[in-house]
Symmetry: C2
Subunit: 212 residues, 2 copies
DNA sequence: CTACTTATAGACTCTCGCGTATACAAGAGA
DNA sequence: TCTCTTGTATACGCGAGAGTCTATAAGTAG
């Protein structure tokens, strides 16, 4: 505000640009549409993963992407549209990496691979999006499927009732917690990590049923 | 501007009330300050627990409390002030109910009692407030203490390093997940619930260390 | 009865952030 | 060289929601 272009307000034809001309030889990186779009999605994922949808402004995202807010609207219709795109891509990557498995032995290694490949997307999905009423539907299919699989597996040992429901809710949530904690701990030794998490899940399952 | 209070400004004495006079014999419940304040905190806890701070408007809270928005300002300076009061009270209740225990045998029963006594506050604290940068500090002392205790207990069996940190992060988070899942399942059998959760925590701890 | 407190109702201002529009610069390909 | 695309910079419209104010009513205590 202090250095506003004042004085000759009526003839602002080329005057305004003289300031930037001498300033910096900024390369002004140009990208083609698809490339830029992906870069925006990357930046938006990072920005949203810090504080969720409501607490993240378009200015934050633009700054993260090192772009103008106007550019965001050349690629996405609205903030909600951008967020959905971010979430969709994260879901897609997750599905690709895990490969629609049925919670068999190599489900946890796949989950770790997916989380390591896109940590921000992973955290965004399960730490924020899962709690946001307007967008929960995007990942509800995933969480519902997990709960369903857990429910089916546990039904062999736990009689139907609130305790079965409790365990079927808890085990997927715990698995995600364990993966996120692993991300937060710096992603040490993916192989042993999978073993430990699998063992922990097994321990929870053992504790979940009445047990003789 | 269109319906400015003009014309008969001096004689709007009883005209406006004639409408309400025949409408309903609304008791217009009156409370004394402290009482009303608690009731507002109850309502705000419920409202915030549905969608978190940002997504909850003062109108939502006023509606939940069956009050006018103006009344909220007679008891709290701002929305943030109200939220802090809600969180503070929930923290206080939690501390009272658990009694600053050191994760010994009866820590989990105490946690279940606390959660059952104030389910909305419990969910609000650990499902939303823990993720909100502006307010996380209010419960950080609690989470930090839990992690500290877990860290100390686990250090006897797990060598220092990322795996110890991972386990110390994971076990408190898992315990809270288990309690919330128990709330969501309808709070069946508090006694056995504590046993199952304790057993599950034990299972996770067993899996967390390299183990012979 | 009088005065105080608790309450309603609704209009008003102000700020913030989404979304739009315009003018201009410059790299890339024809 | 001419043009299309990508990009900057900036200003403005607009709605939603926070926070304020006034007028009025009615329980309650002295």
């Amino acid at each position: 505000m202090t250095s506003s272009p004042d004085g000759d307000t009526s003839q602002t034809t080329a005057e305004t640009t003289t300031v930037g001309a001498s300033a910096s030889p900024v390369p002004v990186r140009r990208m083609r549409r698809a490339e830029r779009r992906e870069q925006i999605l990357d930046a938006a994922t990072r920005a949203f993963a810090r504080a969720g949808y409501a607490a993240t402004g378009l200015d934050d995202i633009a700054a993260e992407a090192e772009l103008t807010r106007a550019m965001l609207y050349r690629h996405f219709d609205s903030k909600a549209d951008l967020y959905r795109a971010v979430l969709d891509r994260a879901c897609l990557r997750l599905a690709d990496a895990t490969g629609a498995d049925d919670f068999d032995e190599h489900a946890i290694p796949a989950l770790l691979r997916a989380a390591a490949a896109d940590p921000d997307g992973f955290r965004l999905l399960f730490r924020y999006a899962a709690r946001e009423p307007d967008f929960r539907d995007l990942i509800d299919s995933i969480t519902a499927a997990s709960r369903e699989v857990a429910h089916r597996n546990l039904a062999r040992r736990i009689p139907a009732g609130p305790w079965l429901d409790w365990a079927a809710d808890l085990i997927p949530a715990f698995t995600l917690d364990a993966v996120i904690a692993w991300l937060d701990a710096g992603q040490p030794d993916p192989g042993p990590a999978a073993d430990r998490i699998a063992a922990a899940v097994h321990g929870v399952m053992a504790a979940a049923h009445p047990h003789p």
